[in-house]
Structure formats: structure tokens, C-alpha cells
Amino acid sequence: MRIASKYIARRILNSIIIIFLTLIIAFVIPRLSPGDPVDIMQQTYGLSNEEAEAIRERLGLKGNILEQFITYMSYLLRGDLGRSYSYNMRPVSEVILTALPWSLFLLGVAITIRVLIGVLLGIYFARKQGSLLDTSVSGIMSLILATPYFLLALIFLYVFSVKLNLFPLSHAYTYESIQKGFSIEFIIDVLRHSALPIITLVIIGLPSTFYTMKNNMILLLNEDFVYVLRAVGIRESRVTRIVARNAILPVVTSTAISFGYTVVGAVVAETIFSYPGMGYVLTNALLNKDYPLIQAIFLMLSITIVMANLIADILYAFLDPRVELR
């Protein structure tokens, strides 16, 4: 394994450029739709035009879009993400910090479980290729792949929460449990509340991991070195383990690439399950044209996705000694 420092520096530079471009897009697109947040405030609070103009100035919404962007960047470089209109001018960083842990938990657990199950199923069904069970599971996976996430989430919500009463319907915790601080009861309560969003996120992301792993396994199982391993009398379970180690590499990359889709899924999940994470906050920010909050969330998402890809690249080199980063 050789990791060229030049390569990493180049990738970091690329990442910064990508993040900056995302930042521009996140800044421009909300402003392209008609109206600005002060119009909404003006209607809500019955502000006069003079008052509205004063607020516009204070919020950095005066001037053309370039001037607004320069103002925004000057604050951003000083670490000031602005204040959220839809959360009564609370600092954006504060709003995000309230919601972020919930999303990280949801995404972290969902991705981990998804990769674990996807890889195991991929290994198993690669060996059972062509069996009735394999074709059935593959069919179901194709079906899941074609199912819109919101539909799956709604069905699960109705069946497992409303009808069977197995899981809570919404939110992340109950008031009773949070009163007890970080206790076993609180952890169980949080797990119970996050179960449905996590299960749906796992299911919706499972096919991609499953197919990647299974296809790689099938390809590698037909490689010459596998015949050699078998010929020298190595047990089949050991052969599978060796092949799986090689087949898992693309899963790492695809997981990083699909991270963005999982984030989108989490936004929908949080909205449907009224889960108080970033997606829930983002939905409210979009509805209220809360520019600073929208920008900050997109900035954070882009940083996360770009970083995930960067880490995947570097990790790839660690996992596969043949890979050389230049």
C-alpha cells in the first residue's frame, strides 16, 4: 500500500472545489424561486414596506445576488452560518446541532446494518446462484429497487406501527425517557423510536449492496485462483472467506457513493416519521425559504458526501494492497 501525499492533496483540493460549487448552487437555487423570506414575514407579521426593507438589509438580502453571496461568504469564512428565520433567528449552528445527532444516529446505524446484511446475503446467494430461493430473493430485491421510498415507509408505518403496534409511530423519544437522562430506558426508547425509520432505510438501500456483493462474488468464484484453492484442498468455507474479502472492495466504494442517496432517504424518512433530524429541519427550512438554514444544511451534506467519497478512496488503498494512489 502506498498513499501518495500528492494524491491526497489533489483530492482534498478537488473536494474543496466541489464543496464550493455546491455552496454556490445551494445559494442560488432557493433565490431563483419567486419571493424572499421577508415577504413571508411581512405577510405573517403585517410589517410595513419600510420595516421589511430594514429586515432585508439586516439579513443580508439587499442588493443583487452577487452582493448577497459576497456578504454570505464573508460571514461564512468567519465561521458564522447566520441565523435561522424559521426558528426565530436562533443561530443556524445551534439549530443544526440540535438535529444533527439524530440524523447521524439514523444514518450510521442504517448504513452499517445495510452493509452487513447486504454483504452476508450477497455472499450466501452467490454460492446458491440459480436456486429457487436465489431467484426469489433477487426478484424481491428488484422490486424493492423499483419501489419509491416514501411508499415503502408509509406501508411499514401503517402495518407495523398502526395495525400491529410493534413500533412507535413517530418522533425520536418520549418525554418520560428523556427525563431520566442517558439511561438504559432512554436508549431502549430511542432504539424503539428509530426502529421503523432504520428498517425502511436498510431495506431500501439493501438491493444495491446485495447486488454489488453478489455479482463480485460470482465473478471471483469463477477465477482461476479459486480453482487452485479448491484443488489444494482448502475447505469451501475458507475459500468463500478469501473470495469475500476480495469481493467486498467495490462495496466500500458503492456505499460511499450511495451515501448521498441514503441521506436523501433519511430526509424523507424523518419527514414521514416526524423524526427530529436534519431532514425534518430541512423540510421546514424549505417551506419557509429559510436561506441560511438551507445553505448550511446543503453545505454540511456536501461536505459529508465528498468526505465519504474521499475516505472510501483512501480506504480502498488500505483494503487492497494492489491499489496505488497517485
Binding site: Y45, T135, L166, Y175, P276
Partner: protein
């Protein structure tokens, strides 16, 4: 050693799997108690999130509801059905000083205390009026109704005097719902504040300001994205609530409330008419329309843009729309057609001689009017004006289900008279922008009116919607809600005269005359109103009220079978059930705690009977079953096909 650890690691995966399976089984098999079932609490579902500002003067949305509960110090309440309810004051007296000057004395309850145990006194009210309401009236009183307040004085610790430059019952609109805050806590805060500073004042839910409140509940917990929990205040002057806690759970949308109430996660919520069929008939759930309605859906026509600047065209559009059909279908069976411009709550002010003029369904007459204007139908059936403008309008609608239904019905009705309507779905911020800046020919939308419109329809209905001071040129945002850009000097003159008169009969005459102008010109087109619908779990709770909405329900609601510990209601706390309100108050009126004698106009609000029941579709269970069967069939077919290949 390392080898040993390595060999043990083989079993880690198995061990973790077993632990996970046991954990999952434990979670699944532990019975789930929904919030309401745990303790003696009432859970209300709210479609939206908190904003983290519990300033009782400027909070919006659900925060204003919470702040209103925390600071429940209004001297008297005027219920939406015009009932007067003594609250922090157990009685009041009028004294007519002169023709234009009235003194109003309020007697504060002896048992009225703040949550720290200190008494609520006249000083607190005097402070609140002199230091907050009156100096910051531009922010807090957009309709300028407090201009009638000449002075607020303390007579004794428990007696308060208002001097008002008005001699009729509008004064209840001045004082009803106006809370007081503790002078000792808020005094230092607002001492040197400008109005602009006050408008920006955010009261954080964790603020020390909220440690001294006065309502039936105190704030225990608040998460803007999740829920607010309020704890009963046993010393509340109107008696202790029967519940220990009031929980408000925030949901992403109105649709999210449906499974929540079916499952029992929440006890109660307001539903839109189109969502009602999904819960109606579910065992344990009661659906009850509110006995009053304060909204009107209008077709707003831009009065400054051709061709809707023509009154004849506006009248034709009005005549072409079948309001009964709209009310029945878009109102989900809980709508009422409107043939005048006022919400049902203000029906007592409707001019009977013009009610229905140009608002009755008559498509033939509408066609005749358009023919007489020379608007000829083209080959596609759509009319064209003499100057070549095609009568084809875009109708911007946010994606709210019952609004879409209404827009579709309007489009269909207008097509019958040769007017094409293209519905355009827009996001709510875009809709607000189109509406506010006048970027429309026609648009559909509702206007929700203050309960005070019952007392002063000029300040609360006519001025904000029709006065030219409430509008702005096209392209600029309107300061009021004159979105239709109505600019009529005659109308302005009448509104101004009505706002300046102290003579109730003169005032009423102006209101009648204004309505004549409205019906003659049809500046905007009233269509229908809907009743808010309260949906609650009657199998779990009882005592739901429909008067002051949240407040009276919070005092009467009980969890069935719960152990109740309450304090006795204070003496002389008799809520007026059937008070009558007048626009011509006698010179001296004394209210003694049980009945008010002011009365000439009585408004009766009957609980509406659904005019039509929407057709019941498949139940959710059936739909889920069908979806499951389809999934299985598709999976099996896919499996067989893949196997063959």
C-alpha cells in the same frame, strides 16, 4: 495469546448476532404504551414545528398557543360564539362619563396568583398596558383598535380602570384576550426597549422569564422539532385542570395526524375536511365540527389588471360558480356556501337587502353579461375580448388537497361560460409571493378572520381586505390583505367614516352601505366557508369543549378512569354560557359574574350538518392487503422469470 484472541474473534459475530436478536425480540415483545396511556395527560397533535419563541406578545403558530396557555391573564374572554367569559376579572362595570368617554372597571379575582405564589394585581395590568401594549401598538395592534384606550389606572390592588374613547361594546375587542405579564419580571427587561427591539424580542423556552407565569399550566419541556410538555398549575385561579400534563406533539403535516390519532398517540387534533373520511367511523374516535367558522374562501380578482378590472367580468365570474357544489365537495361535507363577504361568525352584520346579489349561481346570466361586453367565443369555446385578449387565466394553487379540488371545480364552472382556467401547482412561498405582489389575474385562497370581527367588522374585515391603504402597487408586497388591489375612493371614504364614528347606529349604517358597494362591484368573489373539525379519542378522554378552543378544553378535559385531584373552583367563577353581545351597549351595565345584560343582536351558531358525505373508498387495511398481495405476486412472477433465464 494473539492466536487465542483471533480464534475467539470467530465467535464475536455470532455473539453480537445473538445479542442483537435478543434485543430486537425484547423491543418487539415489550408492550408499547403510547404517550396518553402512561399518565393522566392529554395529548394534542399539531401539524408543524415550534419556533422557539414563547414571547406571549409576538409568538406565532403553536408557540402562540403555548404562550397563551402560560400567560392566561386576560381579564375577560370573548368566545367565538360571542359569549363573554369572566376570566382574571370576576366582574366589570361600565360608567358612561360623557357621550364619547366610558370608564370600565375590572375586579380582579382574589385568588389570582402568579406561579411563584405572588398575587396578580392591577399593577401588572397597568404596567403591561403602559409599558408594552400602548407604546408598542404599531407592532402589537395592526388594526389600531387600541386608539380607543385613553388611560389605564390602578384603583386598588384588585381594581383596574380603563378609560375608553368609545361608548359601545367594542371595548371588549380592546381588552379580550389581552394578557398581563408580571411587572417585577418584565419591567427591567422592557424599560429601555424601542418598538423595533421589542418586535425582535425572542423569549427562549429556557428563559427565566417563563418561570413566573399565570396559566393553568407551566412549561416543563420544549423541543421545537418534537414536542412541548406543560404541567398543571394547581393554583390556577379558574380551578385546577383535571389532567396532570398537557402534551403538544409536533408533526410534519396534517396527514401525519391521521395515523397518530388512529393509533392513539394523540388524543385530539384539528382536521381539514378532506382528511376526515379517513378517521370517521374508526372505533373510539369522535369527529365534531366546531360550531362556528371564521374563514371565507374567495376567488381573488386583480382589480388593477385588464380584464378583471372590469366589474361586469367579475360579476359574470361570480355568477358562474356553483357555491353549493364547491362547499359540498371541496368542503368535504363541512362547507357552507357564502353569498356575502363576511365569515359566518360575523353573520349578524350581513346586509340582508344585498345578501346574495351577484353571488347566486346563474350561468345563463353570466353568459349574457359576457355577450353584452362583446366577449365572443372562439372556435375552442373560449371567449376573446374585443381587443383580442383571450379569457384564459392561470390559477396558482398550493398543493393542498381540498384547495386543488376547489380549483378544479372553479375551472370547470368557468369553462361553461367560455373562460379557461389553467391550474398551476405552486409551492407555498411562491403562492404567498404571487398573492402579496399581485402577480395574478385570479387566484384562489382563504382569509381567516379574527374573532374580533364579530364586534368590529370594519377594522377586522373591511379595512384590511378592501381599503386602498391595505394594498400596494403590483410588484410590491401589500401591508394588509388587500391582495386584489381594490382602490375605490368611495369605499375608502365609507370605511374611514365607519372607523371614526362613535355612534353605533351610524357605524352599522356604514357597514350596510359598504356591503352594497361590495356586491355591486364584486371586487373579490366570496365562495364558501368551512368549519374546523375537531377529532378526538372519545374512548379515552371526555370533556372536550368547543368554546375558547384550547383554554376551556384544558380546564374540562379528563382522562377516563384517571385518578383526579383537583382544587375547588373559586367562588363567583361562573362561566357565562349564553351571553349576548350588542353593538349598542347601554350607558351603564353591570356584570356580576353569571350573566351579562348587554344584548340586542344574537347570533346563533348551529352545529353544521354535513351537506354531503364524501364517498367512502377502500379502507387503509384493505389497501395495505392489496399492496402486499401485489408485491408477493410480482416477486413470485419475477422469480419464475429469472429462474427460466
Amino acid at each position: 495469546m494473539m492466536k487465542r484472541i483471533y480464534s475467539l474473534s470467530r465467535y464475536w459475530g455470532l455473539a453480537i448476532s445473538i445479542i442483537m436478536i435478543i434485543s430486537i425480540l425484547h423491543i418487539i415483545t415489550t408492550p408499547i404504551h403510547t404517550y396518553s396511556q402512561i399518565t393522566n395527560q392529554y395529548v394534542w397533535g399539531y401539524p408543524g414545528v415550534g419556533r422557539g419563541n414563547l414571547n406571549p406578545f409576538t409568538a406565532t403558530g403553536v408557540d402562540s398557543v403555548i404562550a397563551g396557555i402560560l400567560y392566561s391573564t386576560s381579564l375577560v374572554w370573548m368566545a367565538p360564539n360571542t359569549t363573554l367569559i369572566p376570566w382574571a376579572a370576576y366582574k366589570w362595570e361600565f360608567k358612561q362619563v360623557s357621550q364619547n368617554l366610558t370608564e370600565l372597571y375590572f375586579y380582579i379575582r382574589d385568588n389570582a396568583v402568579w406561579s411563584d405564589g405572588s398575587p396578580i394585581t392591577a399593577d401588572d395590568y397597568v404596567f403591561t398596558w403602559k409599558s408594552i401594549y400602548l407604546p408598542f401598538n404599531k407592532t402589537l395592534d395592526p388594526f389600531g383598535i387600541w386608539r380607543y384606550v385613553v388611560s389605564v389606572e390602578k384603583i386598588s390592588d384588585k381594581v383596574l380602570k380603563f378609560t375608553l374613547a368609545r361608548n359601545n361594546s367594542f371595548i371588549f375587542a380592546v381588552v379580550s384576550g389581552r394578557i398581563a405579564v408580571p411587572a417585577k419580571i418584565w419591567g427591567p427587561l422592557v424599560a429601555n426597549m424601542t418598538e423595533s427591539d421589542f418586535a425582535k424580542l425572542v423569549v427562549d423556552p429556557k428563559s427565566d422569564l417563563l418561570k413566573v407565569t399565570s396559566g393553568p399550566f407551566t412549561l416543563e419541556f420544549y423541543d421545537p422539532n418534537s414536542q412541548a410538555v406543560l404541567k398543571a398549575f394547581k393554583q390556577f385561579f379558574m380551578g385546577s385542570p383535571h389532567i396532570d400534563r398537557f402534551v403538544i406533539k409536533f408533526y410534519e403535516s396534517t396527514q401525519a395526524l391521521i395515523p397518530a390519532i388512529i393509533k392513539g398517540d394523540i388524543d385530539s387534533a384539528y382536521f381539514s375536511p378532506t382528511d376526515v373520511p379517513t378517521v370517521k367511523g374508526v372505533p373510539g374516535i369522535t369527529v365534531e365540527p366546531m360550531p362556528w367558522s371564521n374563514n371565507v374562501f374567495y376567488l381573488w380578482t386583480n382589480n388593477q389588471v385588464y380584464p378583471t378590472s372590469l366589474p361586469e367580468l367579475r360579476i359574470a365570474l361570480s355568477l358562474a360558480i356553483n357555491r353549493v357544489n364547491l362547499a359540498n365537495r371541496a368542503g368535504g361535507g363541512y362547507g357552507i356556501p357564502r353569498y356575502n363577504f363576511f365569515p359566518p361568525i360575523a353573520d349578524s352584520w350581513v346586509n340582508p337587502s344585498v345578501n346574495g346579489t351577484n353571488t347566486q349561481y346563474d350561468p345563463n346570466k353570466a353568459n349574457q353579461i359576457l355577450d353584452s361586453l362583446g366577449f365572443k367565443k372562439g372556435s375552442d369555446g373560449i371567449r376573446v375580448t374585443p381587443n383580442g385578449t383571450r379569457l384564459s387565466f392561470e390559477l396558482a394553487v398550493p398543493s393542498i388537497s381540498d384547495w386543488l379540488v376547489a380549483a378544479q371545480l372553479i375551472a370547470s364552472d368557468l369553462k361553461n361560460i367560455g373562460v379557461e382556467v389553467n391550474i398551476r401547482l405552486v409551492a407555498i412561498p411562491t403562492y404567498v409571493d404571487i398573492r402579496s405582489k399581485g402577480a395574478f389575474i385570479i387566484f384562489f385562497g382563504s382569509r381567516i378572520y379574527s374573532v374580533y370581527s364579530v364586534y368590529d367588522p370594519v377594522s377586522y374585515i373591511l379595512y384590511p381586505v378592501f381599503d386602498s391603504k391595505s394594498t400596494a402597487p403590483i410588484g410590491s408586497s401589500t401591508p394588509g390583505t388587500n391582495w386584489a388591489r381594490v382602490i375605490d375612493p368611495n369605499l375608502d371614504q365609507l370605511i374611514e367614516s365607519a372607523m371614526n364614528t362613535d355612534d353605533p347606529s351610524e357605524y352599522k349604517n356604514y357597514v350596510m352601505k359598504i356591503q352594497e358597494l361590495l356586491h355591486t362591484n364584486m371586487y373579490i368573489i366570496p365562495l364558501y366557508s368551512i368549519y374546523d373539525i375537531k377529532v378526538y379519542r372519545s374512548d379515552r378522554i371526555e370533556g372536550i369543549q368547543t368554546g375558547l378552543q384550547t383554554l376551556d378544553t384544558l380546564l374540562s378535559v379528563r382522562v377516563k378512569g384517571a385518578q383526579i385531584q383537583t382544587t375547588q373552583l373559586p367562588q363567583a367563577t361562573t362561566i357565562v354560557q349564553t351571553a349576548m353581545v350588542t353593538t349598542q351597549a347601554p350607558a351603564t351595565v353591570t356584570q356580576t359574574g353569571s350573566q351579562t345584560t348587554v344584548a340586542t343582536i344574537i347570533t346563533i351558531y348551529a352545529t353544521p350538518t354535513p351537506t354531503a358525505q364524501p364517498q367512502q373508498g377502500l379502507g387503509s387495511l384493505e389497501i395495505a392487503a392489496i399492496v402486499a398481495v401485489v408485491i408477493i405476486v410480482v416477486a413470485v412472477v419475477a422469480a419464475l422469470l429469472l429462474r427460466r433465464k
